[in-house]
Point group: C2
Chain length 309, copies 2
Amino acid sequence: MDAEVLRTFVTVAETGQFQAAADELGVSQQAVSKRIAALERHIEVTLLVRTSRGSRLNLDGQVFLPHAKKVLAAIEQAEQAVRPGSRPLRVDVLNRRIAPAQAVYRFYRSHPGTDLDAVTLSMENAAQAAQAVLEGTIDASFRALPADQVPAGISAERLLDAPLQLLVGPGHPLADAPWVSPANLAGHRIWIPGIKPGTEWAAFYQALSKTFGLSIDALGPNFGDEALMDALADSASLSTLVGSGDRYLWPQTHDLRRIPLHDPTPVYPHVLLFRSGDQHPMLTALRDHLRTVGPRTPHDVWAPDWVDH
Amino acid sequence: MDAEVLRTFVTVAETGQFQAAADELGVSQQAVSKRIAALERHIEVTLLVRTSRGSRLNLDGQVFLPHAKKVLAAIEQAEQAVRPGSRPLRVDVLNRRIAPAQAVYRFYRSHPGTDLDAVTLSMENAAQAAQAVLEGTIDASFRALPADQVPAGISAERLLDAPLQLLVGPGHPLADAPWVSPANLAGHRIWIPGIKPGTEWAAFYQALSKTFGLSIDALGPNFGDEALMDALADSASLSTLVGSGDRYLWPQTHDLRRIPLHDPTPVYPHVLLFRSGDQHPMLTALRDHLRTVGPRTPHDVWAPDWVDH
DNA sequence: ACCAGACACAACCAATAGTTGTGAAAGTAG
DNA sequence: CTACTTTCACAACTATTGGTTGTGTCTGGT
């Protein structure tokens, strides 16, 4: 039972002759004859009355015709359902609080009619996220995956740089500085709780530390934002690093200060991972959008050298 | 897009591995692999994630699976729809007033749950009815078709003999006879209006006339039963021939007499025409029924020699 | 490190579906 | 009534497809 055979039958039924159906389908009349014969042999019922001036449906043919059309419609629907763009693009935004989620949300707002799922995978590290993309669990993921770890079949495009800012309590020496260079953070205690070893976060902060000679304490479990903010507010020496994108997400209840970093500006580089050759129009639009909006700070930016080549 | 391919996909999706699906479908693992690959190539989307411990559906596969099942269900339905017996048997009973209609009705009553359409075709003659059967417009027809005119592909079985009776007015010489031999009708005026030339009726009455030396006036249009009954009631010499099966259908308003014919009993032989090899269970049941009920008068019966060999 | 399980690739073979050429049947025109 | 046209079917051939077996690669477990 082949779609082409059913299509042939429907065409013959509608045109009333084999030759016309053959022309319409772009095959020879004999091929149509064979297909119909095969169909009739398969269902063990003759469907058409052949005369010397065309063919008409008999009773069984009249019964079968709507069913054949229904099958064809179902096939059409099935093919449609998996056509690129007919289901929402599923993007892993890492964490709803930070830059990728905001970027995707802005994209969603600026593209009316888009259908898009922003999800947060509980993936340990970027490699696992890449695997999830490859396996089709999600369509794309914002991660900081080292270029040499991008698996075959996955494309990676650095599309979103999130500048880091220093977050300190009111008693911190840098509390009133307009900005600070990362090099000048050497010696300061920087606490970034909840970074798991082996993740791209760990690698990122390790690279940052090494480049600027910092001592970042990025171990231990995630104690929650409240605990961190409490600690910052109480301490005259403790600081942490946050993405500038999540500005409004940190409650102002603790009178914490955000100090921009410049000269250079360390950015957390978000690489969009997606299946190579994925034709989903929403994916193309998202990439175009991010490339156009240009969230990547153009000059005097630092990022780990293992991103992008 | 082939049913077998979709079935394979569904099986793989449900078993979780190619090998198990292959076993279930009775083909090799490689064949399953090829089929899935062909399907994915056709819809230009990968549906399954292959791992070393089986295969799982990806997002597109999950979307596609119910559609594939729906297509298979539609195919199943389509095949079911034309399976012998899934639609009512369509029998041409020639004329609702006479023997075939009654026989079919009795069959219908004695077979609960049967689904059957008794129709009256406006066919000029038996050959056309046979053609209609052949073309599948109807499934069977009760006719008196000469055996040598049965077209290829049609089977004919004489299943119903309708004995003729003489219908006369009260003033007719035979009005009070308990029965009469057809040979004794020679010389009597017999009027059977509405017989068209070239039909099996005309041939039947012609054969009857010739055999018993009768003079049957079977020409002219059908004036309607009322006109015929009026004429019979008024005349002391006019008679007509009717089937015994339609006994109760002739109103008794005219005080007409029915005289049975015997020695021999002329019967109108109904041959059931149907497509050779038709598997419709209702058709088989109808034939069995008629053969068992045995409407064919067993002895001393006359019928034209061109029926049944 | 090795083995077992799972899927893909390659080579080969049989069956299928297409092609062209031709024929029979039946309606149509001269 | 014959010749022509149209329609579908059949036959022979070919190309493609879909199946098989044999083998390879990858991965997870022992």
